[in-house]
Symmetry: C2
Subunit: 327 residues, 2 copies
């Protein structure tokens, strides 16, 4: 099938661009130095390619992601890098399961659900989950006393991953990692898990990096000057044209909007409606033309879609379900 | 089941509040005076209750919505209030199908797909689809010449539905409807379809109103002082608490963010991450507490979810699939 024969709106993925991103990351952070975060793509077909590139250990954000990864045979070493209170579905998985804990309640939940391994989640500056660095040791001790194996610490420097200046990003990253290393001295364990696509190249302190977006990219991460290339777009068709603007057939229900409007080469986006994208075309646009839209934030954009069409040039070569959606 | 035993994140719907909204709307716009827009909820169980309240004719935004409504036996009179180029799936439906057209291309598409009835979509001020009012007559003539039945006009005054001042909203609505009535004089046909929840009470010119959000509501529409009550929330659980803030277990993949952050009674939202909502609690909050979050924009929030849990007080009485998602 030709890409112009796809239904719209659709997600299209450039197979060669994905290969580029996979191989660049595997070169920079080979094997266990990367624990790819599947929340960015929610697609086991993509996770299989990350595994083939050498990354056998994965990061998940939801119980559903853990379940589907295990079912797909990708359960070699799965970290749920998030706090959960109902862990009953996790204890039953046919996989190596590790869960983040940051409190006595989440510790108790891990025990009650039959989880056996945990990481101590440490707050390193982002106002989200994670215990204070100075509390990490006591929590690790309590976990071990409760029969859990403590694999180490995790802490996400998410508040600084978007800083465009590399030196500033690296300096701020170090500040966060000093906190995480301090916590790790208290907890012990082999793993210091941190980072993301924003800091994959400057976080020298973590033993593994939890990057996810690198494999598909978006306009937000593009600002950082990383070597990764855009590999996924929203494929739309122009359904209406007037003097000053044109309208394509996808919008708010195709795109996570928290980072603002998407972009497209064919013109400047005015606004999105539920099922429309109104833009001012740069050149001549006709009803029926296709446009390729780059999402501003990849993760919440993918979560709207059932599948990704894989293309090589103009040929559609495969179709991958986004099978880790939901909770 | 008690609402506190639901998995989180979940959508919860208050059955009594929905009944309130259905009956208030049925009183204001009985029968065919309302053509409920299903894009707001994408749920045939809710559409059935709208039909039971007297509204047999529906508005859809996507081909999938048309298909699922027809399969659910709700195909009495379905309007696809949007331009489509591939209408092949529409012509085959076991339903009365009407499609909006605004150009020769969309007219041709209707004919080619086996669609028999159309409405002329007229631009009444919102920079989106719709022909110029002065072009409506020629398009209607061309449609009739091509063998299509022209049922009338539609035009959405979406650029003014959010104006908080009612008099100003009504004045601007009239300006838009003057354009639509002018177009209607050229096209003929019985139907003048327009409006939404924002203008359901002041658009006196349309023969039918395409409101959808009224049945569930959101924080954006709450500003307008309508009699409808909030009937749907995102149900989350607090998974982490620190000195200044708490974190609940749902975020950007639960909520359309184009209208900004959601709100919650328990505190002030700081920001949302993919699977987290960080907020500053007003009072004491503990890990394990549940919070009820009101989405800022209902339509793109629902589109992330597989189902709605229906509650009466604290009792979960039903579970409805959001079965019109996707395209």
């Amino acid at each position: 099938m030709n890409v112009h024969d796809l239904p719209t709106p659709s997600l299209i993925l450039d197979a060669n661009h994905v290969e580029t991103n996979l191989s660049k990351m595997a070169q920079a952070l080979p094997g266990a130095a990367l624990r790819p975060h599947v929340k960015a793509h929610k697609c086991t077909e993509l996770a299989k390619r990350q595994a083939a590139a050498g990354h056998q250990n994965f990061t998940c954000a939801t119980i559903r992601e853990m379940e589907v990864m295990a079912e797909a045979g990708l359960g070699h070493d799965l970290l749920l890098a998030n706090e959960v209170l109902d862990t009953s579905r996790l204890g039953a998985l046919d996989a190596r399961v590790t869960v983040a804990i940051d409190s006595q309640e989440t510790l108790d939940a891990a025990v009650n659900g039959g989880v056996r391994e945990v990481m101590i989640d440490v707050n390193v500056g982002l106002p989200r989950c994670g215990c204070k660095p100075e509390d990490a040791g006591a929590l690790a001790n309590a976990a071990r006393k409760a029969g859990l194996s403590v694999r180490g610490v995790m802490g996400y420097e998410g508040h600084i991953v978007g800083i465009a200046d590399r030196e500033e990003r690296e300096r701020r990253c170090e500040e966060s990692m000093v906190l995480l290393l301090d916590a790790h001295r208290q907890t012990g364990g082999e793993v210091i898990s941190a980072g993301g696509t924003g800091t994959y190249d400057c976080n020298r302190w973590a033993t593994e990096i939890q990057a996810g977006s690198y494999v598909l990219m978006d306009t937000a991460y593009r600002e950082l000057g990383h070597p990764f290339v855009q590999a996924l777009w929203l494929w739309l068709r122009v359904i209406s044209v007037s003097e000053k603007y044109a309208v394509a057939d996808g919008g708010l229900k195709c795109l996570g909007m928290d980072h603002g409007n998407p972009t497209l080469a064919e013109g400047k986006v005015w606004f999105c409606s539920d099922e429309h994208l109104t833009f001012a075309p740069e050149g001549k646009v006709r009803v029926g033309d296709h446009v390729r839209v780059t999402p501003a934030h990849i993760d919440p954009s993918l979560a709207y879609h059932e599948r990704i069409f894989v293309v090589e040039g103009e040929t559609v070569v495969d179709e991958w379900p986004i099978d880790m959606r939901g909770w």
